[in-house]
Amino acid sequence: ARAKVNQKDFSTASLKDEEEFTDILEERRCTTDLGYALRTFNPQPYKGAPSSSTSDLKKAVLESQYLRYIIALETGSSVEKVRQEARGILEEMSHNLQLGFIRLMAYTVNKVFKRLFRSIYVNMEGLNMLQQAIQESPVILMPNHRSYVDFLIVSFILFTYDIPIPVIAAGIPLASMKVVGEILRRSGAFFIRRAIGSDKLYWAVLSEYVRTIVRTGCAPLEFYVEGFRSRTLKSVVPKLGMMDMVLEPYFKGEVFDITLVPISISYDRVVEESLLALELLGVPKPKESTTGLFKASRVLQEDYGCMHVNFGRPLSVRQLCEGKINRSEYNLIPRDLPQRPSTEIQDCVNWVAHLIVRTQEEGSLISPWSLMACLLLQAPITTLTEEGLQWHGLTEKTLWLRKLVLDFRGRLNWPGEWARWISKISIYFNYTDGDPASQDPLSPEEGVMRTAAAVLMLVSYRNQALHVFVRPGILATLFSFFCFLRDVFANEFIFIPGRASQVTDFAEACSLLQKCGAVHMSEQEVTVLETGLEVLSFLQKLLQPFLDSYQLIFRYLCENGAHVFTEKQFLPAVQNLATKLILSGKTEFLSSDTQKNVLSALRRLEAVTKLRA
């Protein structure tokens, strides 16, 4: 139950609702870009950090005992050759953060963002907490990843507010972009290959590189725990490789603590929205290239609305892991050697990674457009493609959904002129009237493709709101299942008929489980208590034979294939099947009473009808 309590503490630890967001572009629009890029930059770094250059970092990695150990293990070629290879990997990987390039980056990014976005909102309180945290312990910045635009936004904000610039884990394709790759590298990006597989040497260099950054605290480390850009705009189940490397210095006691800062970046519109849908339909993603980047510059002419960057409350790894792990498992092997973590540690890493993604979700802001997408997708496709929807009805319904989101403690980004803004951007989604530019009739295949692309785009925007609804959604499904079972068993047990009593029964069930201590219900949550497992499993096992029996009979009816049967044939046949199953130990009992009940139930539910003989 303890873990549960923690979870609650941390999930409510995400920032409070009445958050003050500041538009950082507003000030940028008043000053010259050049003046901004050349501003004095004087951050307060981590107090324990040595002032080390990138070459010091590389040297420390190459000379580490860990790497020497791994190199010695690599048989097949000479030690010098392996070392050379390791050096090559490191060269390919390593960042080369330089303030000059940060200024160049800030200059460019500033120009681009001012064109793309109306505003970039940042919560100053989160930023202040980050500034504090960075001085106390090594900090890991963990944004969600929805767009290429994410990549430099955090660095851009930190530069603006005099906070140390992070080094950022990036995919290797970015490095191969001409000039741009090098600029990114000098802006703090370091590059990781995809599909490392079992390349032990590569893993060793990478993990030692990451751990050295964390251990020395020479710069904040930024990485996407989701691993890659979410094409569906829905959070992706976190990847644990980087997370492992990042947390290990704490597990091994090499640092007192590590601070994790979840960052939620939300967009009104994602720059690559049209690409996303095509990609999901199987059209390959264009390869990252500098020329591609220039071609993409047409996006600069569009209005992408606002961007919200929500810096979450810094989380102490020490506090998160308290009571979950026993770090003394690292006491018996030199810490410089690789050691497979216990399942306890692995579970903890997995939990932390999921917690971060959850916190990112909670911190992200849902736009009206996203809510509207939820509604649009519930309308039949033909309504969307042919008939259309009443605009007024749609906005009414969206407002209703807005209230629901607030009740579910979701966070909204609800501009005053939201409806106008949507009607403006929705012309980009040509789902109602086809492409206005082309008058040629579309082939049916093309039509399907086009509709699919539009729907998938809608799906993406709906996905941004899903995290608010998914839990109550499952419960709602559960309730309907409750009603269904209650209905099925109405001949077996006594239920007061009627819709009202359905709800009473459900409430009664919940309250009884709470009363016996099986579940705990507070304002915020329902918890299954450790002590309750016994009760729950008893109850489940109690009803299991009934479920089995009913299922058995349903199965018989489905498999038998006969549409008409007599009760006289039916009973022994079912009994026969049951006996077989009992003999093979697959079911418990089958009384003729139950069989009769099943038949009555099926009749009542109109699955079978009784023919007069």
Binding site: G48, G253, E254, F256, D257, N326, R327, S328, Y330, N331, P334, R335, D336
Partner: protein, 568 residues
């Protein structure tokens, strides 16, 4: 001796009428001196204030002591042996505690818990045999008492004990029985305290070289029972290296080896059941120890390092080259400042001018940051020529790690502090400041990490537990070994505004110990386990290890006559 504080009654720190700190008495180098910097240090470090006093109860209120539960049959037979005993309240209270913070704090408040019901003073090994026989016969609980310097709650009477508790005070067994100059051993009664043993041996030109910080008061039997470690172990070894033969009286009879061979291969060494048994198996009565001719020459020294990391690297190199002097200790910056605050008033302008010059040289000329630098104190021993040679070797190594020789005086003062620091805690307790030290041993590669993490943990826990003032959280590396080092932590805070300061203190110390264990440190290097650290024994030595120790206890003392409930 004080009944509710450390050491001799005549020696203590106090603030005189002018508000200056001074150390009373005549026993120590610091005695009778004014310490001008101490007040400011206390005020700035703890936020302590001379106006806010928390004086101790001046005398023991005998009525607060529970009347003794006496076993009349035992008492009657004891009387017939002629062994002296007492059930006077003061005698009993004096032997009811060690020097853990909670023990002294309670005494100062006049709170007395369960105390022994009777104190006996055997005069020799045979007296002990008689007492143990009687205790077994009448089912009386025996608790051996040596110097009373325990810091592990080892002397606390188990509150759940219903039998009569008899404190067996070994202080009258304090003779050197013989000295064997051919083999360089001495046979000594176990009740002798460290300083008497050294003084008596010195008279014959010998020493044991075993100098734990508590040596003024701690006893030979206590050293054996807790696996003590001495400051100069680099030359003389720890207690397990010094002991040649042990005699212990147990409920099953006397255990001893049949010869004095310097090493034996006769199964597991039974001495190792005795050493560290913490009074749970019997009473150590006589010990044969190695002795050495007194060193011809002693020289103190000190080295200033730009930071703690460099200092630790230097100590590690010294250990690697196996050239550690008799003692080498590295204090962190906070302790360096503390040592500085304890400098007595200097008499001549010249000395203070010189001090100023040194400070200028180190901080301005050499660029050491006064808030980061740290100091190592050294003690060399041996014949003059070798000492000088050795000294040069160590200073050369130190120089490679940025160390600057900082004079004999600083070194000597560092070692003197060891003896007065326990007195200082009493001064702190007069002004709302409570604190304690604890220790561990740890592999070399973890020394820096454990120091940083434990210190940080203490600071964080204090904050979390509502301590209103920043705590003092400091450490030093006090011993070097081939494969690791012994680290000592000091921790103290101003408890004004806390309703239950001792509880807060204990929570923080507990957390600090958890941190030590999580960082690969040991449960104890030399303080022992007692009852204070019992809860971690199983994870420390494994369940099988616990079973081994338990089965020894069950065989040797099936009725738990030695019922202090330490260790297991």
């Amino acid at each position: 001796m004080k009944w509710n504080g450390w050491g001799y009654s005549d020696s203590k720190f106090l603030y005189n009428k002018k508000g200056q700190a001074e150390f009373t008495g005549k026993r120590y180098r610091l005695s009778g001196m004014i310490i001008p910097g101490l007040r400011e240090w206390m005020e700035s470090t703890f936020g302590a204030n001379l106006q806010h006093k928390t004086p101790a109860a001046p005398i023991l209120n005998s009525s607060a002591v529970q009347p003794p539960t006496l076993n009349e049959a035992f008492l009657k037979e004891l009387k017939s042996t002629g062994i002296p005993f007492s059930h006077d309240a003061e005698d009993r209270v004096f032997r009811s505690h060690g020097h853990c913070l909670h023990e002294i704090f309670a005494l100062r408040e006049g709170k007395i818990g369960r105390v022994p019901d009777l104190v006996v003073w055997p005069n020799c090994h045979n007296d002990v045999v008689k007492i143990v026989e009687l205790a077994c016969k009448h089912n009386v609980c025996l608790m051996p008492y040596g110097g009373g310097t325990s810091v592990s709650s080892a002397l606390e009477c188990p509150p759940e004990e219903t039998r009569s508790i008899v404190s067996l005070d070994t202080s009258q067994m304090n003779r050197i029985l013989w000295i064997d100059e051919k083999n360089l051993t001495a046979h000594v009664e176990a009740g002798i305290v460290g300083q008497d043993l050294e003084r008596l041996l010195n008279e014959s030109g010998y020493c044991t070289g075993h100098e734990p910080d508590s040596m003024e008061f701690s006893s030979l039997g206590g050293w054996v029972a807790t696996r003590a470690s001495g400051m100069k172990k680099n030359i003389y070894g720890n207690i397990e290296d010094l002991v040649v033969h042990i005699k212990m009286v147990t409920p099953q009879g006397v255990i001893e080896k049949s010869c004095q061979g310097p090493r034996m291969s006769t199964g597991p060494d039974v001495h190792h059941f005795i050493m560290g048994s913490e009074g749970t198996l019997g009473v150590v009565t006589e010990v044969t120890m190695k002795i050495r001719p007194m060193p011809e020459y002693q020289k103190y020294g000190s080295v200033v390092f730009p930071n703690f990391e460099m200092g630790v690297a230097c100590l590690r190199e010294v250990a690697r080259q196996r050239c550690a002097p008799a003692s080498i200790r590295l204090m962190d910056n906070e302790q360096f400042k503390f040592g500085h605050a304890l400098k007595p008033q200097v008499s001549s302008i010249f000395t203070s001018f010189l001090d100023g010059l040194k400070k200028f040289y180190i901080t301005k000329f050499k660029g050491f940051d006064p808030n980061r630098l740290c100091v190592a104190t050294l003690l060399f021993e041996g014949d003059r020529e070798k000492v000088l040679q050795h000294e040069k070797q160590v200073y050369d190594i130190a120089a490679k790690f940025g160390g600057l020789a900082a004079g004999e005086d600083n070194g000597q003062r560092g070692y003197m502090l060891t003896f007065v620091i326990a007195y200082l805690r009493d001064l702190g307790m007069d002004y709302y400041v409570i604190g304690e030290s604890f220790e561990t041993s740890v592999p070399w590669d973890r020394v820096l990490d454990i120091c940083r993490n434990v210190k940080a943990r203490i600071v964080r826990e204090c904050k979390d537990k509502g301590v209103q003032f920043p705590p003092l959280s400091t450490c030093r590396v006090t011993q070097t070994y081939d494969a690791g080092a012994c680290v000592y932590f000091y921790f103290a805070f101003n408890y004004r505004g806390l309703s239950d300061p001792v509880h807060v203190y204990e929570q923080v110390e507990h957390a600090a110990r958890e941190e030590i264990l999580a960082n690969g440190g040991s449960l104890s290097h030399h303080h022992g386990v007692g009852k204070l650290r019992k809860e971690w024994m199983r994870e420390t030595i494994s369940s099988v290890g616990m079973g081994m120790l338990k089965s020894v206890k069950d065989y040797v003392d099936p009725n738990n006559i030695f019922g202090n409930r330490n260790l297991l």
